[in-house]
Every structure is written in C-alpha cells, then in structure tokens.
Symmetry: C2
Subunit: 207 residues, 2 copies
C-alpha cells in the first residue's frame, strides 16, 4: 500500500465519527432505560450496524462508559502539569480538577444522569474502578515530579516516593468522587463548593 499517513488519519477520522455516533445513541438509551437494561443489540440497531460490527468499534459495553469517564483525564493531567511550582500538590490538584467541575456544572443535566447511573447500576462498577486506575496512573507521575526536591529527579525507581504520589493522587480522586456523588443528588448544591469542602477536610487548600 502506497497510502501512508493520510489514509491512516482518514481511517481514524471515520472511526472516530462512527464511535461518536454510536456513543450518542447509546447514551440516549442509557438515559431512558438504564445501563443494565440496555442490550448491545439495541445500541447496534439504533446506530444502524450489526451486533458483530459494534464489537469491532468497542471492546464491550463497558467502553461506552469508560469513554466518557476517561475523556477529561488528559485535560486534568495537563492542567496539573501547568500549575505553578510553588503551589502545594493538594492545591494544585484542586485547581486541576477545575476543568471537570466547570464541565460538570455547565452540562449539569447529563453529568447528574451519569453520576446517578454510576451510583445505581451494578454493571458499571468495573468501569468506575477502571476510571480510578487510569486517572491515578495519569496523575501520580505528575504529582511525583512535584514532590521531588526539584534537584535530582528520575534517579532509581523510588518505591516510597511512588507510594506517596499515588496516595496523594488517589486521595484527591476520592474527594472528587465524594463531592460528585453528593452533588449528583442535591440539585441546588455547588460542585465547586462541595469539592472545596471535601478536599479542605483533608488538607488546607491555600498555597
């Protein structure tokens, strides 16, 4: 094949477009029927493809959830990486979460629907755990860099430093999770304020 890059990205483009379309239909069904009650045949038919083809675009039903959850991960990681170096890791994490908070508050309806789905449907628990892992994997190294004394980093793999970074990232995510969960079923609450409350309960957020 002489077609190299250009075709490659054309394929990806088409693939992405199809995936988005499938996702759109899937979430309409999820919102009306719930996740567990929605079959892949329904999703495939709504998207106008065969069951078999669906599985060529998505590895499984889970991925319809994961996609949404992981999306914002890179944004948060990027935001975290760009926080000023003199900021405490905790405050930097809080600030980095700003992008998901804003996103959730602007699309409050969908965000709440998603959150409630995540709370009530047993079938998505695996996806939630998966989300936690991927975000931790993404954030922990950036936190680690921030914890290192800025002098010599990347020496030998330092287990103790890794645990610290992972603990920090994991705790922050736990706070985000708690805030979002409570926010989901209190329509008049502010997610931003709840997240401040949650993270502030662990460590002071100034500096």
């Amino acid at each position: 094949m002489t077609t190299e890059r250009s075709t490659e990205s054309l394929r990806d483009l088409a693939r992405h477009a199809v995936r988005d379309e499938v996702l759109r239909h899937a979430w309409v069904l999820f919102a009306s029927q719930g996740f567990d009650a929605t079959t892949i045949d329904q999703v495939a038919e709504a998207a106008g493809m065969s069951r078999r083809t669906f599985f060529r675009y998505f590895s499984g039903k889970d991925e319809l959830i994961i996609e949404k959850l992981v999306e914002a991960g890179e944004l948060v990681a990027a935001a975290l990486a760009e926080r000023p170096a003199d900021e405490s890791p905790w405050a930097a994490l809080r600030a980095a979460f700003g992008v998901v908070v804003r996103s959730a508050e602007t699309h409050a309806e969908q965000a709440r629907t998603l959150r409630i789905l995540l709370r009530d449907e047993p079938g998505v628990r695996g996806s939630l755990e998966e989300w936690r892992r991927r975000w931790t994997e993404l954030l922990a190294p950036i936190v680690a860099a921030r914890l290192a004394p800025a002098g010599r980093r990347a020496k030998r793999p330092d287990v103790r430093a890794d645990v610290r970074a992972e603990a920090l990232a994991g705790s922050a995510l736990a706070c985000l999770d708690a805030a979002q969960t409570v926010w989901a079923d209190h329509p008049r609450s502010s997610l931003s304020a709840l997240l401040d409350e949650a993270m502030g309960a662990i460590l002071p957020l100034d500096r």
Copy 2:
C-alpha cells in the same frame, strides 16, 4: 411451621459451611488459573454441586471475591469506633487499618495472590469498586461522629459534614489501596511502613 429459631440457625450453619467449602475450592482454582479463566462449572464441580445449585449459594462469580474483601470491614469499623476520642480522625483511621495490615502480613502469600488478582484480572474490577463502597459506607459515619463537635450530633442531615467524612474515609482507603498494591509486588517491603508512608504523605500521623 413449628420449627422456629433452632432450625433457623441450623440452616444458617449448614449454609455457611457449604459456602466456605465452595470458597475454598474456588480460591484454589483462582490461584492456579486466574479468576477470568475459571468457569463456574469448574467451581461447582470441584465443590461437588451442580451449576444451578452454585447460584443458590452465591449471587454470582463476583461474590466469591467480595466475600473475602468485605470480611474485614466490620473489624476495621469496630476498631475505628474504639479509638480514643482525642486522636485525630486520620491517625484513628491509620490505627484501625492495623487489623488488615496484621492479617495481610501474617497470611502474606494469600494476601499477595489476592492483590495481584485484583490488579490484573479485569473481571474483578467491579468487586473492587464494590469493596470501596461498602467500606466507605461503613467508615464514613464513624468518622462523621468523630468530626462532630461532640456536642449536638444527629441534628438535621448535614450535607457538608457528610462530604467531609466521606472524603476522609475515601482518602484513607485510597492510601490503603496504594500501599497494598505496591506491597503486593515488592516481596521485601513492609505493608505497615508503606501505609505509614502513604498516609503520612497526606497528613501527619501523630495525634
């Protein structure tokens, strides 16, 4: 039915015994083949029962995992409830985790096997999330009681206080998780030290 209490507990006794036996066989299979590769038919056959009967003792494959994970939850909750009131919530949580740390270190082999299973097998992620929830549900109210100014508690449901407690419990669990994960694949490490490292990275552990 004239048979009341005595038969009731006899039933439970038998049921428990059967469950334990099934669990024993299941974990032998998990350890040798992994979780996802083990079918329920295999477990049922090993335990000497039909597939159909298996589902009368366990709601699903997940429950074979959950059982092990949730077991220690009540112990931790009890330990937490009995920590001195002048101890900080964080230090109290660290101390309460002592029971799982000791248990893990005395049965190091099995604990490591379990941990690695939880890390690598996609099929158990839902169970891990389930574990997180149950422990959070268990611990958060006790933490909440500890956070309340000891004067008037149980006023009106206080959302902000709930978020704080849940954030604290969730963060502590994230630390425990991080410590256990790292511990699992560093055979010469001390789980207790790792947990101190993790939780100490968030908040000081004295007091």
